[in-house]
Subunit: 200 residues, 2 copies
Amino acid sequence: MTKKIITVSRQFGSGGRTIAKKLAEKLGYDYYDKEIIEKVAVESGFNADYVAELGENAPGKTTFSYGFEAQGVPGIMNGMSALDFLWCIQRKVICDIADKGRPCVIVGRNADYILRDRDSVLNVFIHADEEFRKDRIVRLYGESDVKPEKRLAEKDKKRKSNYKHYTDGEWGYSTNYDLCLDSGRLGIDKCVEIIADLAK
Amino acid sequence: MTKKIITVSRQFGSGGRTIAKKLAEKLGYDYYDKEIIEKVAVESGFNADYVAELGENAPGKTTFSYGFEAQGVPGIMNGMSALDFLWCIQRKVICDIADKGRPCVIVGRNADYILRDRDSVLNVFIHADEEFRKDRIVRLYGESDVKPEKRLAEKDKKRKSNYKHYTDGEWGYSTNYDLCLDSGRLGIDKCVEIIADLAK
């Protein structure tokens, strides 16, 4: 059966986003990555940078702001934390994208879990060893004061905590995905080829 | 680069063994599954059924027998538990198979970890959802007094504990393998095709 929606979850620096982008081009599918952040920003009223920062964050490690209006009347956030509010909006945005029925590739944002009960979804996880990912983030995003291994660990820890909190599952555990690929060992283009073949 | 050794780890009932067998036939590779148990039995002096039962068992849940000889002189097991002794023999048997240099497929027995530092090894993990696996074990191994879901859970719990104990890693976690495939969603033959293509 043709897979109309492909979700690509990925370790930071694994090239998962590049794989997703190339895959969408190869298959002629719509591509959603930063587009989701922009949609969430519009629907939530938050700044896009704030959404990008918080959207894969770990609860408990962030600034909570509760959306109560004055005089004890609940506001639009209905007493939820900013993170929970963003999760709800993000979930709605991803479901809306799926409901459109157009074939697409969606990067990150726990879309594998959000769309888990839908047919014709292919869930992919991309990972690679630390050396491959360190080299990649320095080449793509440049040096920083923080050591590359720390940047990798911090980012993936956030994604793992976020996934655990909202799905009660383990981010990166094989059974959550239809296939998991080591992009460092198999190569970016080979990963694209395997996934594209499965989507047909 | 051609992958000369393919290790196939698998959830119970996922069809991992069938995939490994078909893969070996397709590629013309040697195939090691029960053959490892027989070699370990010969080298350890234990009965093959005992090796099969203990070899993927979880430490602490089994009968420990220490190989001390009389008069305080250490015996062949050198004071190790039967399980640790079997692990050492099993490790040696798998390294010997790899040292032969003949292309092969090895099923289970933590071979992915044992051969982790060797070149040209492709590590695969096969999994599937509970329904697929329940149906499969009942068809293949028949009914039993124990419910299928319990049989699945017990077997996989043992493999997980054994892996944790001897490798300090998490059995089935994506980053331990080059690729992980859901045989229920992708199909047995498609899994064989993907792995065979990667081995070339």
